[in-house]
């Protein structure tokens, strides 16, 4: 049933370009106006109309004018609610879209920033099967975060987003498409397992560094310890001098990840392996550099560096 509807929709879009007029990608901000807001009754709206008709015939049959007046009042209120539904969308603008970061296969958090000059309620955004409701308060701004399914690395244009509302009574559904002209970058999916990167030859010779910021332990004073490292309070309790021993986490050797070393594999496999290595390096806090064809990246660490490397990897041809 759902698939049949979807096929019908696609056919309609092909055959009736007027319907699809506003579904081309557009630059933001995208503001909804009367030319692109559609209104249809909901299932409840149709049921309620049938009920109103029954009430109408009943009150006419019994010549009960008070009941007729009530029916007319309810019907007119329902009709007026259609205009309110329209006004809930009219003038709503999608100001920008912020994309989160995600590897292929995991949902990507898309944050849609909506703007409006007046408060609005109960507006819903559909992205694929995901639906999120939001309201805009007096500040005129609202952020809506939706998950976007991803399945392939690289730049992907944003799909179109349906904005709709059944405000205020649920009798009518006003809706419109928004298709922002923007692409999101999806990082490559790391391979599930494989060999570690080849380490430089002088790996084992590096000295352990013991100077750091974090207090590791107290030990007996050895002559030559700086005076400011003496733990005076603890020493006074024990009657002998104790020194504070500072330690820096063991600095792991830097990884130099290189596209050229992975010869004999196809591109996607190389990218997946590099992505895994990058992920491991990032998780271990290890400094790493990345060489890709045409864009060598210097050694570094931290989330910013990781994101830079992954994005470079993602945008490889």
């Amino acid at each position: 049933m759902r698939d049949a509807l979807r096929r019908l929709q696609e056919l309609a879009e092909r055959r009736l370009p007027a319907l699809t007029r506003f579904r081309r990608p557009e630059p933001m901000p995208i503001e909804l106006n009367r030319r692109r807001i559609y209104i249809v009754p909901t299932g409840f709206g149709i049921g309620f109309t049938v009920l109103l008709l029954v009430m109408l015939v009943g009150s006419l049959n019994y010549s009960n004018n008070a009941a007729l007046l009530l029916t007319c009042l309810l019907g007119a209120a329902g009709a007026a609610s259609m205009l309110i539904a329209f006004r809930a969308l009219d003038g709503l603008a999608l100001a920008s879209v912020r994309a989160g970061q995600a590897v292929a296969g995991q949902p990507l958090a898309l944050t849609l920033e909506f703007e409006s000059t007046r408060p609005r309620s109960a507006i819903r955004v559909d992205l694929g099967d995901a639906c999120q409701a939001f309201a805009i308060d007096a500040s005129g701004k609202a952020d809506v975060t939706l998950p976007l399914a991803t399945h392939q690395r690289g730049w992907h244009p944003l799909p179109r987003v349906r904005v709709w509302t059944t405000w205020p009574l649920g009798l009518f559904r006003a809706w419109s498409w928004m298709h922002p002209e923007q692409s999101v970058l999806v990082w490559p999916r790391p391979e599930s397992g494989g060999p570690p990167p080849r380490l430089p030859a002088d790996e084992g010779l590096r000295p352990r560094l013991h100077h750091g910021e974090d207090l590791a332990a107290l030990r007996d004073y050895r002559s030559g310890d700086p005076r400011k490292h003496i733990a005076w309070k603890a020493s006074a309790r024990l009657g002998q001098l104790l020194s504070k021993d500072f330690e820096q986490p063991e600095s792991r050797p830097e990884w130099r990840l290189d596209w050229r070393e992975l010869e004999g594999m196809d591109n996607e496999a190389r990218i997946a392996r590099l992505a895994r290595w990058l992920g491991e390096a990032h998780a271990q806090g290890r400094r790493h550099s990345l060489w890709l064809p045409g864009q060598p990246i210097e050694a570094g660490s931290g989330p910013g560096h990781y994101a830079r490397c992954m994005s470079a990897l993602a945008s490889l041809p």
Binding site: S63, N64, L73, L74, A76, D90, T117, D129, A130, Q132
Partner: protein, 660 residues
Amino acid sequence: MIGAMRPPSEATLDGRAFDLLCLTMTCVLGVHASHLPWWLVAGLALVLALRWWQRRRHGARPPALLKLPLLALLAVAVVFTYGTIFGQQPGSALAVGLLVLKLLESETPRDARVGVSFACFGLMAALLFDQGLVATFVVALGLLPALATLRALEPAQAPTNLPRALLPGLALLAAAVPLALLAFALVPRLSSPLWGAANSPEARTGLSDRMSPGNFTELLTDDRPAMRVSFDGPAPAPELRYFRAYVMWLYDGRTWEHADLRRADGQARPLETLEARATSRYEIDLEPTHRTVLPALDVPLTAPADAQLSADREVFSDKPVRESLHYTVRSALYYRLQASLPAGARELALRLPQGFNPRTHALAAQWRTRYGGDEQAIVRAALALFHDGGFRYTLAPAPLGRNAVDDFLFGTREGFCEHYASSFTVLMRAAGIPARVVTGYQGGYWNPLGNYLLVRQSDAHAWSEVWLEGRGWVRVDPTAAVRPERVSLGAAAAAGDQLGWTDSGWLASLRNRWDVVNHWWAQGVIGFDALRQRGLLTPFGIRDTGTAMLGMLLAIGTALFVAIGTGWALWRRERPEPLRQALRRLEARLARAGITRRRGEGPQHYLRRAARALPAQRAELEQLMNRYLELRYAHDEPVPELLKEFQRAVREFRPRRVVK
């Protein structure tokens, strides 16, 4: 492909929506409470309150096992009370009960929507029992929680408190009133019902076609309006305000009865002849009586449309009066009715049951021998007896025995109009004077604000007519002999101080005003039937507005309202931001010079490009760009002076196309 994230409200009803739903059901129960048995109302209210408390406290579904017994109990209760589940009363009792039971399983927005829809229907059904002004307003207010419930089902909205949640519904209804009134006036009425007419509740109706001691009591304390009369000319004097409903010939010793009397040969009796001397034309708005009789001022000359005049000059409508009815009659105020009495009618007007009231017969015989053929003297003697015989007017008389008239005349000597009329008529018949009982309304309250006579149920009255040679049927009101105030002031005044407080000044004037409003409602809304609708356009020269015409007017009017509504919906209060507006203007000027802003091109990039394309104005354009960037990004709000400067610079900027 994409993870589903349904808003939580799709799954279960949130607390606010459920509260409002309970309130809606309470309203429905409330507007139906007046005609449901009290124990049913109390039981349903208890179920409602328990369910509300249970969901608030535990938040769980009540066990399904509970629902079926409750449902069965409801059906049994309805059948037990009304004997059936069909018809207006049992049907509405069942509907209200089902609505309340529906709450037990209302857990999702879908349930709530279904519940609200049927609650709207339930509210409407309450109007089948009472379509008065107050009832209609109360029912319309009952729509507020229903609308608020629907609103509360929508996700993501600013939190409000319960009373505030009702306000938007009020605004919506207020906005809907004009269209509703238009539709109300123009929806074509049915001239005859599509299916069976409403089966009428017998309770609390007006005059009955039988009169037995005591059955007026309820009527005489019922202050509801019976009818409103507006006269074309001046209103007749108070002592002439007798409205004739039933003429009663048959007496069985206890009860006077109206019957469709025929002559001995089975033919309908001819209309009693009438010589009129002064006539009055007037219009009556009759409240629903569920009977066919139409009261008319003594004595009607002709029957209004869709009604017949009986031989005794009673007016009977062709159909029972189920909605308030408007009719026009002309009546004779001074008249001679039935100058010559046929033998059959005379025999009927003298008939008394055998073996009743021996003392009354004796008294009548005594008068007959004393006054001989002077029938007027006998009438005077009877009236003198009532006036001087120690009779008392009261609405709570002592009960009477088998010989009711004897007991009354020689025993209790207290009673109200029906006692007097009944015993007077029996006395006359016993004395050989043709006599009959007439019931109807007498008096009424002149409303100076609305220029009409308000006749209440409590103005119901019974009097006698005696036939005198040469004068025909003459109206004699024996009650007036006992309490003249009854005729001039009304039953309440005659009964002493029982209801006297209602006559205090400001309260009376308040009642007047209130009655004018009710009258307006009864005439303009309840009485707006097919006939009045056809005459809707008479002021515009169209005498008969047909269904097609009404449909066309309805379409035009609706289109007009749609246009107004659309205009409102499209009207945008906000003005575009001045800075953006100024930039658009600059863009338009540059576009005329051939430099159009590309899609997605930022203002800085665009103006740089323009500066390169128009080297002669490079400095000017760069200055504009810098100003724009400063206004846009240097401050949260553009500085007004700088903005004005920028706008002026844009106004003055004229791109000059470089000729290469």
